[in-house]
């Protein structure tokens, strides 16, 4: 395992978990981002070339969770709740207070929620442990996600799409589409000219 990895610039006295694979050019602002990280997958978080996680981005990753940031993907204070897979494509930008959750962590049935809550205070550290199947989140290449957006379990967002601020996304989003609203709906598709602009 070698010596624990720390971040030279860190304000938090933590370390980077051993199954986090960071490209030499990737940037994580603080090890506090791993305060709820429990992944035991061979690679629990992979960050590609130039990918970055700023502010209070939190990797709340369960034992089987795998998170991946593509090249130059950017997260500025994003909460990632992952028990299966959260895959973020190259050049995707995510704003503050964005929630990406691939699991509700608790059953819809109130009796089941009681079971999870009864266990929470005896876990180390205290947390809600998944009892329900997770559904992976896949975010394409060059997607732009505005602030306060919630992406719910199972959602796939196509390449080049834009999710307006405060949207709540429950359904898949096709490529090159602007969506907004709570619940989110399609505002318009990008035109061929826009898609090809600057290529």
């Amino acid at each position: 395992m070698g010596t624990p990895r720390t971040l030279l610039w860190d304000w938090h006295p933590g370390t980077i978990p051993h199954n986090v694979v960071l490209d030499d050019t990737a940037y994580i602002e603080t090890s506090y981002s791993f305060s709820l990280y429990r992944s035991r997958a061979p690679v629990g978080l992979r960050m590609g070339r130039g990918a970055s996680a700023y502010n209070d981005t939190i990797f709340d990753v369960g034992p089987d969770g795998r998170v991946s940031f593509g090249e130059c993907a950017l997260a500025v204070g994003v909460r990632i709740i992952c028990d299966a897979e959260v895959d973020i494509g190259d050049y995707t930008l995510m704003s503050w207070n964005v929630i990406l959750m691939d699991s509700y962590r608790v059953p819809f049935d109130p009796a089941g929620r009681r079971r999870v809550l009864t266990q929470a205070p005896v876990r180390t550290p205290r947390h809600l442990e998944a009892e329900v199947p997770a559904r992976p989140i896949r975010i394409g290449r060059g997607v732009w996600i505005g602030f306060d957006v919630c992406i719910l379990p199972g959602v796939t967002i196509g390449d080049g799409s834009i999710v307006g601020a405060r949207s709540v996304v429950m359904d898949d989003v096709p490529p090159y589409t602007i969506i907004a609203g709570n619940p989110a709906c399609v505002v318009r598709r990008l035109g061929t000219e826009e898609i090809n602009h600057g290529l």
């Binding site: 207070n97 876990r123 205290r126």
Partner: protein, 194 residues
Amino acid sequence: MEETMTDSTPFAPGRWTDGVLPANARVGLNSLILGDHAFKRFHSRRDLALIIGEHCTMDGVHFALGEEGRVKISDYYYFTSALLLCELELCVGSYVIIGWNATIADTDFHPIAPAERIADAIAVSPLGKGRPRPQLVRRPVIIEDDVWIGPNAAILKGVRIGAGAFVEAGALVTRDVPPRARVIGNPAQIVGEV
């Protein structure tokens, strides 16, 4: 400080890891409050302004209580970074989960009538020293047992959320939610049952 979050032995009474609890707060057996902002905006003068039951976890929370605010929370409550704005009364049942960055407010803080609102703006400004504010509309918020409130959701004044209800992430709840209903959207609409 960190060790209290990683120690699973029950303790009594409850604690706040980052300071001394206000004298008018009661926190029950094995309940844990984390975060140095928890009581920064706690201004209640009531005898018992905050009552929290047993086995609750409040990981990052703002108890923003006005002078007359009172918050009562039962047992096995779990939330992360919730903002509780209370000028009158907030009651939360047992086995309630509140997601990250959710907001609950029992008042809108400012009046609707423009002239009154201007008077309020002056009263709360640096020029308004001692000037009384217009009467605020305050209505208790009641959250019954077994409710799930998703991250980034907001619950506004006078709302009662029925037992077992499921408030989706990002929902903005302005009206009562029946027991076991699942709501989503802004404003929140019923989309099914759990």
